[in-house]
């Protein structure tokens, strides 16, 4: 008898738990996917939720604009912070239907996001396109379509300590000669601060490599990088690897494997080298070091090709599987292309704005932004094709090998073989 009473009590609890559960489901409309679907056919006072995913440094500056947009359109805008593996997290979440409506990321993700059907093209008017720097528009264009609204452009440049090296070098040879002289005089410890490490660093060394005549991909008829023509092992690239070898540990000592991504900026900020090849992200640390500096383009080799850095463009993407696409498009195409948003994002994380008008306003207070922009004006937008993923590591290892004094032809051939192998599959 007692046991039965117990059973009844427990069942009652179960029923209670069930109803409680059901209630909470209804109380939070954003939690259940079915709910959003229902709201479209039976519009309520609230227009739903727009979810934006951003990296930590951009959540705060976006918040006021997101709230304003929400108030104007009667929706709730959530800006969520994603701090790690943003691209993979976005892809996985999108796939299973829990992704955002808008994603913020680098333009070189576009190829991979498109092949996974994760983002939609963004239609900008001609006037909007003209307001951006042409490099930025070129970068977010993939297969002839614009896939994101750009807001910041970043590229690497040569930052030099003007106390040690007052004049901007015209060529790499000049820079290395000056660096070696300063080292011989005991004024610096390193000729040049550029990360190499045990796995090489294709991103930072690319301008030097390009100036020496090296190339990663051939071009398609439309001028885009052509994944079918990998040129890492081409004669031009072999020559360029040879030049890197001359700059390496067995040569001028300008490229050294002991200088890594962790220590290259610190070393420059600490006055241990006169030249640094890095991007806008280095500036806060350089300023902390309290040295006098100037920013110019990475110089080319004497008689060489232009030293074109990679250009990266931070952009807003409209998620294909978002639940509120009309709002997402409104936000990306018509709202964040606004100057004030670009400026607020700049103030939170000083990377040169992609909007020309915003860049001009920023110029007065921060000449660095314009100098970086100037240094990257001939730059090459980082290839957004998914095949680029196959390049980084083999290229870096070939760089490391020649910097240590290895044979350029062998290193280039091995890299080409490895890249071909992984692309062929």
């Amino acid at each position: 008898m007692r046991m039965r009473a117990l059973g009844v009590a427990a069942l009652a609890t179960l029923a209670f738990a069930a109803t409680a559960c059901g209630d909470s489901q209804q109380a939070s409309p954003s939690a259940a996917p079915a709910e959003t679907g229902a709201s479209a056919s039976a519009p309520a006072a609230g227009g739903g939720t727009l979810v934006i995913w951003a990296d930590p440094s951009r959540v705060k500056p976006l918040k006021p604009f997101a709230d304003q947009f929400g108030a104007e359109n009667g929706v709730t805008v959530e800006v969520k912070e994603i701090s790690k593996d943003n691209q993979q997290t976005f892809l996985t979440a999108s796939q299973q239907g829990s992704g955002p409506d808008i994603m913020i990321g680098a333009h070189d993700w576009i190829g991979n996001l498109v092949q996974n059907g994760a983002i939609d093209p963004v239609t900008l008017t001609d006037a909007q396109k003209a307001a951006f720097s042409p490099k930025a528009i070129q970068a977010v264009t993939f297969n002839g379509q614009i896939y994101g609204a750009p807001y910041a452009v970043e590229n690497i440049a040569l930052i030099r300590n003007t106390e040690l090296a007052p004049d901007a070098p015209a060529t790499i040879e000049d820079m290395v000669a000056k660096g070696k002289q300063l080292k011989a005089d005991g004024k610096v410890k390193e000729v040049l601060c550029i990360p190499v490490g045990q796995k090489g660093d294709a991103f930072h060394v690319y301008p030097i490599f390009a100036s020496a005549g090296g190339a990663l991909f051939g071009a398609t008829a439309g001028g885009d990088p052509d994944p079918k023509q990998v040129l890492v092992g081409s004669p031009g690239s072999v020559k360029a690897f040879g030049k890197l070898r001359e700059l390496g540990e067995k040569g001028d000592g300008a490229l050294r494997t002991s200088i890594t991504n962790e220590n290259y900026i610190v070393n420059f900020a600490g006055g241990k080298c006169a030249y640094l090849i890095s991007g806008p992200w280095a500036m806060s640390e350089v300023k902390k070091g309290g040295i006098a500096y100037d920013i110019t383009a990475v110089p080319p080799f004497e008689g060489g090709k232009p030293a074109t850095p990679f250009v990266g463009v931070q952009s807003f993407f409209v998620a294909s599987k978002g639940k509120n696409k009309a709002l997402a498009q409104e936000f990306v195409a018509n709202y964040v292309t606004n100057k004030d948003v670009a400026k607020a994002l700049y103030e939170a994380d000083p990377r040169p704005p992609a909007l020309t008008a915003a860049l001009q306003e920023v110029q007065a207070s921060d000449p660095d932004a314009v100098k970086f922009m100037e240094a990257g004006k001939d730059g090459m937008p980082m290839p957004a094709i998914p095949e680029m993923a196959a390049i980084w590591e083999p290229f870096g290892i070939a760089e490391n090998a020649v910097v240590k004094g290895g044979d350029a032809a062998k290193a280039a051939a091995a890299a080409q073989k490895a890249i071909d192998g992984s692309l062929k599959h």
């Binding site: 427990a10 738990a17 479209a40 939609d120 890594t260 890299a415």
Partner: protein
């Protein structure tokens, strides 16, 4: 009848046992636990209903009922203890293993994440191009009756037109604001921003046909005329348009054309044993497999034996009865274990730097520690030794407490030297307790991804084979193959995991069998 007899027999057999007291705490805790379990199970109901998976819903209902019955009845006492463990075993062991194995037979990965329908949608939406020379309409959403219509204002001519799914028609008498938004129109109800936002999905879905393409909303305030360059045709199971026809190839999950090219967006298909075949036949895998496996075994063995030897030596030293200040020593020795391993690994990596690292500065040397195979291997083993010995020290200390001191004293009285006593008495007894831990430590170190990825990242790499480095373990090496060059290839990665799982399982099984024999001798 027979059944009744048996039950009576059982009843009589049980009767001498005292009845368990049912306390209030017992009742409350049982109700609480059951309520939580039921709440978790019920939480899964709405998504299942939304997805329409009735079989899963039925299974869920049956499982809930079974669990509720099991804990509300007095019978099935062993099952009461077994069920929670079994549920967790299924959820955290069996399911992931089965999922990994099934994934290994697919091409799941970048470019092949979704199903075919999703790929087709992505291909079609991605190919919509704005009709050259078409106006950038200012859009206002409005209702005619309760049907959604678009009010489109051509910015150049200020002409207002109304569009719905049947086409465009001129609209007279509309008042247009300065931004190009329509403020009011006869016979229509203009939607305010929040109202339009609430109908976002309808707005996205509405396509106004024009002669050549369709006008679709681009956000809530603009509309553009565009045309899809690629369209799926179910008749031929192909995509027609630019560069096509692109025919669906179900063996690789792509739309391919006659030239052998494929559209970027693919879908997930079953590829059979392809991934396994790729592991076995890919020259970059099979060619280096033996070398990597060899070093992998050396690394795991050196890590286990090194940490065990050092940890045990320290534990024995502190176990000595005349040792003083053991507590202080213990705290100091535990420190490497208490610090987050990944941070320590990064610190060690920087200490090994040739020009700026602490180690070369202390030694006054110029060794490129992580740049040469021999020193890099020595380096990662040393780092792993430093990270791992406190654990061995802890478990050995515990095991030593369980060995009676009388045994070693007796050995000493019998004339055994301390070394002999250790070798013949202490060590075998220790091993009986610790061998399973040593085996699990081996399995852990065999797949110690962090220890390599955060220090050398597999390097140094010989110039002629940029894919396999001197300190690469199978796990770091295959991680690079599966997630480095070709984006994420989950199917391939799963196939590799199956291979690694097999290797570790075989080694562990052999080791456990030997342990059992050893236990039979000493236990």
């Amino acid at each position: 009848m027979a059944l009744d007899v048996r039950r009576e027999a059982a009843e009589t057999a049980r009767s001498p046992r005292p009845r368990r007291q049912i306390t209030t705490a017992f009742v409350v805790s049982r109700i609480a636990v059951l309520a939580v379990a039921a709440a978790i199970l019920l939480y899964a109901v709405p998504p299942l209903v939304a997805a329409g998976s009735w079989v899963s819903l039925g299974l869920l209902g049956a499982a809930s009922a079974a669990i509720a019955y099991l804990y509300l009845t007095r019978r099935f006492v062993p099952a009461k203890y077994l069920v929670p463990g079994t549920v967790f075993l299924i959820a955290f062991q069996v399911f992931p293993v089965l999922y990994t194995v099934t994934t290994a037979f697919t091409n799941f990965g970048d470019g092949h994440r979704g199903d075919k329908a999703a790929a087709i949608t992505a291909i079609e939406t991605g190919s919509v191009r704005q009709t050259p020379g078409s106006p950038e309409y200012a859009l206002t959403a409005a209702l005619r009756g309760d049907r959604l219509v678009f009010l489109l204002v051509d910015p150049a001519t200020k002409q207002v037109r109304v569009g719905d799914s049947s086409g465009l028609a001129p609209l007279a008498g509309a008042r247009v604001g300065i931004t190009g938004k329509v403020l009011s129109a006869p016979g229509l109800r203009v939607l305010k921003a929040p109202e339009a936002a609430a109908r976002g999905q309808e707005i996205t879905a509405l396509a106004v046909p024009t002669g050549d393409g369709v006008i679709k909303a681009n956000g809530l305030s603009r509309a553009v005329e565009g045309k899809a360059a690629l369209l799926y045709d179910a008749g031929c199971d192909c995509v027609r348009g630019d560069g096509g026809p692109w025919t669906a190839d179900e063996s690789q999950g792509y739309f391919v054309n006659a030239g052998g090219e494929h559209l970027a967006q693919g879908w997930q298909v079953n590829v059979g044993l392809d991934n396994f075949a790729r592991v076995l036949t890919n020259p970059t895998i099979s060619g280096y497999f033996a070398g990597v496996l060899g070093w992998n075994l050396v690394f795991a063995l050196a890590s286990v034996l090194g940490t065990f030897a050092l940890g045990m030596a320290v534990a024995l030293a502190l176990h000595h009865p005349r040792m003083r200040g053991t507590r202080v020593y213990r705290i100091v020795l535990i420190l490497p274990y208490a610090m987050p391993a990944f941070a320590m690994l990064l610190v060690w990596r920087d200490m090994f730097n040739r020009d700026f690292g602490l180690i070369n500065q202390l030694l006054g040397a110029d060794i490129d520690w992580l740049g040469q195979v021999g020193t890099a291997r020595l380096g990662v083993i040393l780092v792993n030794l430093w990270l791992g010995f406190p654990y061995m020290f802890l478990v050995t200390t515990g095991a030593l407490q369980a060995i009676p001191r009388e045994l070693t004293e007796a050995a000493a009285i019998d004339g055994a030297t301390p070394w002999k006593a250790f070798r013949r008495v202490t060590l075998p007894l220790l091993l009986v307790a610790l061998t399973p831990l040593l085996i699990s430590s081996f399995a852990y170190n065999f797949n110690n991804f962090n220890a390599i990825a955060l220090t050398t990242d597999g390097g140094p790499f010989p110039a002629d084979s940029p894919q396999v480095g001197g300190t690469d373990l199978l796990i770091t090496y295959t991680f690079r193959l599966a997630f480095g060059a070709g984006g994420a290839q989950f199917g391939f990665a799963a196939a590799i995991s199956v291979f690694i799982f097999t290797i570790v399982a075989v080694i562990s099984a052999v080791a456990f069998r030997r342990t059992r024999r050893q236990e039979e001798i000493y236990a």
